[in-house]
């Protein structure tokens, strides 16, 4: 079981209290009141409008407006509609959904119920990565409690609204976190992403209109409906309202989870909350949003952690996974670990991705060994550039961006490997 976050706000404030994961404990702290309010007092469109006005951005990586996504669900359509909760958290550096599943399963279920009411969905599939055994047990327990209390099933809270929820376990494939790869996996197939259009709102799970949202996105919803859009906008920036749970890892004194408003400066997260770099060493670079997002060098840590500011620095918030690397770190080794991961996890459908991830890793590995030529560095940049925006899903982009970021800010590390014909960072982490 995970430790409660070091800094908590509305999402995680009760996570250290033993009875909070139970339905009784959740209700004692006001749980399920927002769902009751939505279903009994609000029209579905009103719920969607409130979430739109609140400005809730999806917390699964892309940052798309949740309310807008819900509004894409067809209204005059007789087919059954579904929600999918993406709990396939597998972005390296990200571990926030795990605690939301372990400690806040009812909060997430309440968000699902509200979204179901808003979109007219009759069922939700919660897709949990196969390795998350304990979180899955907690979610199953919460679902059983909600059914027993009549909060799920044929007659939700006695209102006549029907909603069923069930869990599907993944089986170890990063690509199933991509929403259409997830849908394929949910249908019992290889998790190979689908071409869009058609988008899931038209053709999603089992061919039916579907909305896919991340665990954290659903978890914010009860707070927005319960306390209002204006209250929600009191956290974060004008364009990026609310809090998020930053997962801090790597070379810091206190790695762990921190729930903070969007727009919190990266330097505040690294140096104040996570306690800075151990041993009095200096920071070299920080990946701000999970491994797919380009790194920022030490001089750019003043950036507020919200997409409108991060985009100016050619990176993004992603899943809020903050990976900190100190001055001993060899950035070519970091590139090697990153490129190995993407080579390993490419689903193989698209040539640019299948071949590109392999070539990137091969070139990086050669440079790290001291066997690279200066020309290799340009070829690496060229391969990464040719992988962008050419494939069925964004995986190839996610593989190219971190390498491009490392080349942009730490090209000298690559050049020194070539010139010295060895790794010039003997104190770096082992490969």
């Amino acid at each position: 079981m995970l430790e409660s976050p070091y800094v908590t706000q509305y999402l995680t404030e009760h996570f250290s209290e033993a009875d909070y994961p139970t339905l009784e404990g959740y209700e004692r702290r006001g749980g399920y009141r927002a769902a009751r309010k939505a279903i009994t007092e609000m029209a579905p469109d009103e719920v969607i409008e409130t979430v739109k006005t609140a400005g809730l951005q999806g917390r699964g990586g892309a940052g798309f407006s949740a309310g807008l996504k819900w509004s894409f669900m067809p209204k005059d359509d007789e087919r059954p509609k579904y929600l999918v909760c993406n709990a396939d958290e597998s972005e390296p550096g990200s571990f926030k959904d795990r605690i939301l599943l372990e400690r806040g399963a009812h909060q997430m279920l309440e968000g699902i119920l509200i979204a179901a009411w808003a979109t007219g969905a009759c069922a939700t599939f919660i897709y949990i990565r196969g390795e998350y055994a304990y979180p899955a047990v907690q979610v199953e327990r919460a679902i059983a409690e909600a059914y027993a209390k009549g909060y799920l099933g044929e007659n939700v809270m006695g209102t006549g609204f029907r909603h069923d929820v069930q869990v599907t376990r993944g089986a170890g494939a990063y690509i199933c976190g991509e929403e259409t790869g997830l849908l394929e996996s949910l249908e019992g197939k290889k998790g190979q992403p689908r071409k869009k259009p058609p988008f899931p709102a038209q053709y999603g799970a089992f061919g039916m209109p579907t909305t896919v949202n991340n665990v954290e996105t659903f978890s914010h919803v009860p707070h927005i409906i319960g306390k209002g859009a204006d209250w929600f906008r009191g956290f974060g920036t004008e364009k990026s309202p609310g809090t998020t749970i930053f997962g801090v890892s790597g070379h810091v004194v206190r790695p762990g989870l921190y729930e903070l408003p969007l727009g919190t400066p990266l330097s505040e997260i690294v140096f104040e909350h996570a306690g800075g770099i151990p041993g009095g060493r200096k920071v070299k670079g920080v990946i701000p949003g999970g491994m797919s997002m380009p790194i920022l060098p030490a001089g750019q840590l003043d950036v507020p952690m919200a997409n409108e500011f991060l985009r100016e620095r050619k990176t993004m918030l992603g899943t809020g996974g903050v990976m900190v690397m100190d001055e001993t770190t060899c950035m070519v080794r970091a590139a090697s670990v990153i490129s190995y991961f993407f080579r390993d996890e490419s689903c193989g459908q698209c040539t640019q991705c299948r071949e590109g991830t392999g070539w990137m890793h091969k070139i990086i590995e050669r440079i790290e060994r001291g066997a690279g030529e200066e020309e290799d560095i340009d070829v690496l940049g060229d391969v990464a550039g040719k992988m962008e925006a050419k494939t069925i899903c964004a995986f190839a982009d996610a593989a190219a961006w971190p390498i491009q970021g490392l080349l942009r800010h730490f090209r000298d590390d690559f050049v020194e490997h070539v010139r010295q014909r060895k790794c010039p960072f003997p104190g770096s982490f082992e490969l």
């Binding site: 390296p92 571990f95 089986a171 249908e187 089992f206 997962g247 790597g250």
Partner: protein, 156 residues
Amino acid sequence: MVISDETRSKIEEAISKYPQKRGALLPAIHLVQADCGHVSKECAAELAEIFEILPIQVMEVVSFYNMFFDSPQAKHHVYVCTNLPCSLRGSRSLLSQLESHLGVTAPGATEDGRIFLGHEECLGACGYAPMMRVDDEYHEDLDVEKAKQILDSLGK
């Protein structure tokens, strides 16, 4: 029949929860593995019959996912995460010391078939590195001694 009646009835129950039969294929493979340890050719053929698909369609799903196996497995699966956040906190040296402790080269199993040792890509424990997954359980904030003790306590 290699798939037991008990597992078959659990598979039928899983099928009833999905709008299309095939939706229950991943849950069914999880159930078969829990029962038989891996998905043999015979298991795949029986699953194919239950799901009214071809055995090759079962096997292509088995081969796509890291947690599904088509050959007999060691009793315990141990994976050390070697992704970047864990590597920054010494997971690779932990893995190599566990390799010498067990006398195996990862990925590989001990001769007695007790432990399979491998590396894995990000298990969502980045703030508690280094870490390893032992079967269904996570062990976090590890040091070498603690990790060795955990491995030594695993039964045959």
